[in-house]
């Protein structure tokens, strides 16, 4: 149904492990894409390495989005990178504790990250150090909650007659 480029995947894993050793937490193939978890401390260097390495050349930031893992009390970021030269896509994940939701900003690497990081801040409350203009983007400025976190109810919060379990999940 879809092809997996295992040769290039292996190359990415080997190169990243050589460069960052214990900062690489895990790697696995999910459906058609290689997915690598990297520790927060090394994420910016790893992205820079992936972008600028001569063999890898992940020059294009396809998308960046926030995640919330309520069981682990964690917030996360998911980057989708694309190497046009090698036609290769990978997914990079990183997590942080929900009480310390700060990641380094990747706007210096890709200006495209600017609004996507603002979106992650807007919906998950993820903070980005060195972001040029970190403020809410789609919601109103006065909003206090972070609506895509799992503890934010979809239904009207003032209503008690509606049980979320009956509506969807």
């Amino acid at each position: 149904m879809y092809q997996i480029n295992s040769e290039r995947n292996q190359l990415v894993v080997t190169k990243l492990t050589n460069q960052f050793t214990e900062a690489i937490e895990s790697n696995e193939i999910m459906a058609d894409m290689l997915c690598i978890s990297i520790k927060k401390e090394a994420i910016l260097q790893a992205l820079l390495f992936l972008r600028d390495d001569n063999e890898l050349q992940f020059n294009f930031l396809t998308t960046l989005c926030g995640m919330h893992y309520p069981e682990q009390q964690q917030l996360g970021l998911v980057y989708h990178l694309h190497s046009f030269r090698n036609n290769h896509r990978i997914r990079i994940k990183t997590t942080t504790d929900i009480n310390d939701p700060t990641f380094p900003s990747s706007t210096a690497l890709w200006p495209a990250a600017n609004w996507m990081e603002r979106e992650a801040f807007d919906f998950f409350g993820i903070l980005f150090s060195d972001h040029p203009n970190l403020k809410r983007i789609l919601n109103v400025e006065e909003m206090k909650d972070f609506p895509l976190r799992k503890d934010f109810p979809l239904e009207d919060q003032t209503r008690e007659d509606k049980d979320d379990r009956m509506f969807g999940r």
């Binding site: 149904m1 294009f60 930031l61 998308t63 989708h80 046009f84 997914r91 789609l138 979809l154």
Partner: protein, 411 residues
């Protein structure tokens, strides 16, 4: 006696004694005919020239990503309609294919070809709107009024296929809800026969029109490296000279069996974006012709759904007379179909760029996280850099040539 002429007057340097410059703030949007959608640009103006721009977006944010976490997969399709509402079928098909990737459903070739016909029609409809609106914003209303008849005709084809026009909710996970009717085929063939001449007519109105050329060539030009850094995709990136097209790079839906050219521009200006879309419409027609030829060569004329009963509603006679069929009917409608845990990213070449769906499932009845990669949202951030120092009237042309759709921008 005549007063002595003040000869010093001509020697004086007026420019130097001028007061410091005064800038004006101009709001373009949120409701403004030039934005063609609900978003705001706060522009700092030095006379007619733009000093800086700041965008405010989110006026029609509808929390699709949150709603999608509470809805069974088939109920997410109407949400995708409302992203880029100028080409809803493209979004629908992209979403179906994402779910199929997660579930491991293999679609029959016939379904793929039917989908390609619908997707390319949607691409033509979207490009028609964008290109004719570039004409309107440069003062040429004629093309717009003429070409809308053909867009209308494409909507009639949608109507024959799925019953809806704008927000189509077309197809199902695994294929289509019904086969294309004879009338739908008639209309598609009629469109293929009549549209090229009309497109040519539209083109002759603008392409070598001196006024249009003066208004668009070298206006809003953006270099390729900046476009890549800003995450441009689709016609906007191709206008800069980079031949990135998801259909060719990561073929989905049997696009690898089709012959088509990826048009590219050179300067990345408004004219190039217009021309790239214009050529893409012709390529789309070519693809549809190939798809029809492939379908005609097939013996099977009935398959419109994957051989996977997990998401296809059983026929009504069976539902009324057969217990298992009734149970399946309810399971599908109530969203109780088993979904494997996993993560997929699937992207398609939508009308204005790479439309991606990042779907995370934890095995529950709904997605645990769904993220849309909305091409507009990503490339619209480059707008201040594109129009810096430009005239206001050119900035408006640049905006319409970028094809920013508010529904997709705000999700």
């Amino acid at each position: 006696m005549a007063e002595e002429l003040d000869t010093d007057f001509w020697e004086r340097d007026f420019v130097k004694t001028e007061e410091p410059k005064e800038y004006n703030t101009l709001n373009v949007g949120p409701t403004h005919p030039a934005t063609h959608g609900v978003f705001q640009n706060v522009m700092l103006m030095d006379g007619e020239f733009i000093v800086s721009t700041e965008q405010t977006i989110g006026y029609i944010h509808r929390a699709f990503e949150k709603i999608a976490e509470r809805r069974p997969f088939y109920q997410v399709t109407p949400l995708t309609d409302r992203l880029n509402y100028c080409s809803s079928p493209l979004n629908n098909m992209g979403w179906h294919m994402t779910v199929e990737k997660l579930l491991g459903i293999e679609t029959p070739k016939r379904v793929d070809y039917l989908r390609i016909i619908v997707m390319e029609l949607a691409r033509i409809a979207d490009h028609l709107i964008c290109n004719s609106v570039i004409g309107v914003d440069s003062g040429a209303l004629t093309g717009f009024t003429y070409i809308f008849q053909d867009r209308e005709f494409i909507y009639e084809i949608y109507e024959e296929i799925c019953g809806a026009r704008l927000t189509t909710n077309m197809g199902r996970i695994g294929g289509f809800e019904r086969n294309f009717s004879a009338k739908a085929w008639d209309k598609i063939r009629h469109f293929l026969k009549t549209f090229p001449a009309k497109l040519k007519e539209f083109e002759t109105l603008l392409v070598r029109n001196r006024i249009f050329m003066d208004r668009t060539i070298n206006v809003g030009a953006f270099p390729a490296d900046r476009a890549l850094a800003y995450g441009f995709t689709g016609p906007n990136l191709r206008a800069c000279g980079i031949d990135y097209d998801v259909r060719a790079m990561n073929p989905y839906c049997s696009y690898d069996e089709f012959e088509f050219i990826i048009p590219v521009g050179q300067n990345g200006d408004t004219y190039d974006r217009f021309m790239v879309r214009q050529e893409e419409m012709k390529q789309s027609l070519h693809i549809i012709e190939q798809a029809i030829a492939k379908l005609d060569a097939m013996e099977d004329k009935e398959t419109y759904f994957a051989k996977d009963p997990r998401f296809v509603l059983p026929p009504k006679e069976k539902v009324y007379n057969n217990m298992e069929a009734l149970i399946w009917h309810f399971k599908i409608v109530m969203g109780e179909t088993d979904i494997p845990a996993g993560e997929v990213y699937h992207s398609i070449e939508a009308a204005n760029g790479e439309l991606g769906f990042y779907l995370v499932s934890d095995g529950g009845r709904t997605a645990s996280r769904l993220h849309f990669r909305r091409p507009c949202f990503i490339y619209y951030q480059a707008y201040p850099e594109m129009v810096k120092g430009a005239m206001l009237s050119d900035a408006i042309l640049t905006m319409s040539s970028m094809n920013v759709i508010a529904g997709e921008l705000d999700a």
